[in-house]
Symmetry: C2
Subunit: 208 residues, 2 copies
């Protein structure tokens, strides 16, 4: 990887080449996502994406099969973040209420980032039917996490008995909405928003 003088070798190893390629894919993804969120999917041309990366449109096809593939990859990148948060909380300690609050904070924070925003700002109908099916399954996973920890909280006594499904709709709706109104240049820091939301959304649920 580097010579004795500390310089990076100009002859990259196969490993390095794989990383380069992957980095380029990520760069395309981030640029496209940025544009999609700025202007809306249908107003973004692949020429724009390429231009912002200082390449030309056909070069994109070395990394993605088409425009919808890019859109789908963006969405999946966002979902991975959510899935990681869920797995992390699942693996950690705490009763139902504690876990629910943690998820509200993590998911809410995600909604203030481009990766998270695309989960709800993209229109389902812009995906192919196959992509839609996979996305639908992913959404179910997230919803299931909310519901299961609410149910767990009722079970362990940390949450007052209620309908987990409806509670999850309220909480999910409030959180997803953050992706619509929150501005990075606004007066409220993401952390302040989600702390407030975690309190507010569990106030009516907690048993204490």
């Amino acid at each position: 990887m580097s010579t004795a003088t500390g310089q990076v070798s100009p002859f990259p190893t196969p490993e390095r080449r794989r990383r380069d390629r992957s980095a380029k894919r990520e760069a395309i993804l981030d640029t496209a996502l940025e544009l999609f969120l700025e202007q809306g999917y249908h107003h973004v041309t692949l020429n724009q994406v390429a231009e912002r990366l200082h390449i030309t449109k056909p070069a994109l096809y070395n990394y993605f099969a088409g425009k919808t593939e890019i859109l789908f990859a963006c969405w999946m990148a966002g979902f991975e973040q959510a899935a990681e948060a869920i797995a992390r909380i699942e693996a950690g300690p705490g009763d139902g209420l504690t876990r629910l609050r943690a998820l509200i904070r993590d998911y809410g924070l995600l909604m203030t980032t481009p990766r998270g925003r695309c989960l709800i700002r993209f229109d389902d109908r812009d995906f192919t039917p196959e992509q839609r099916d996979r996305i639908s399954a992913c959404k179910k996973q997230v919803d299931a996490a909310f519901r299961s920890w609410i149910a767990a909280g009722i079970e362990d006594g940390s949450i007052r008995p209620c309908d987990p499904k409806m509670a999850a709709f309220v909480i999910g709706g409030a959180l997803n909405w953050i992706g619509q109104w929150h501005r990075d240049d606004g007066p409220m820091s993401p952390q302040a928003v989600v702390d407030d939301f975690a309190d507010r959304l569990t106030k009516g649920l907690a048993t204490d």
Copy 2:
């Protein structure tokens, strides 16, 4: 308007003609809205809209200046419903909490109808800058109604002191989200949903 025999005259008055024209405009609006919600704005062609009305595309231009005008008119029709609900509640009796609950119910019900759904399912970036400005002003009105009645409730003692802005974000988000998940052929009636939501969303706010 009609003869002594009860038959409608085949010679419509100017008044009748104006009504006919207006009815046609409405028909275009309803059909377009239906298609926009089914397939998404960018996947709907004006030919489709025309076809469903048994006319041809250029005929639409007798009633609307273009595709975005139709989209805008749909949005405004939805907003009028919201504005009416707000005015009705404003004119009626009740303290802050009562009015807030009434708005939650009415706005939530609206979100289960096509007219209401378009308020949040349409993408702002598909409108012209001028249209966007007007829409932005309308949205502010709705948000202001939520905030003002929360503030009024705090003032009159029916609602516990809190930040009306954040409370309105939570409530608005949960309600807008209804437009995304509620299906008419689903298990929950619109009325059942909003009754549940009205309770749930004011449980943490009420002083009692």
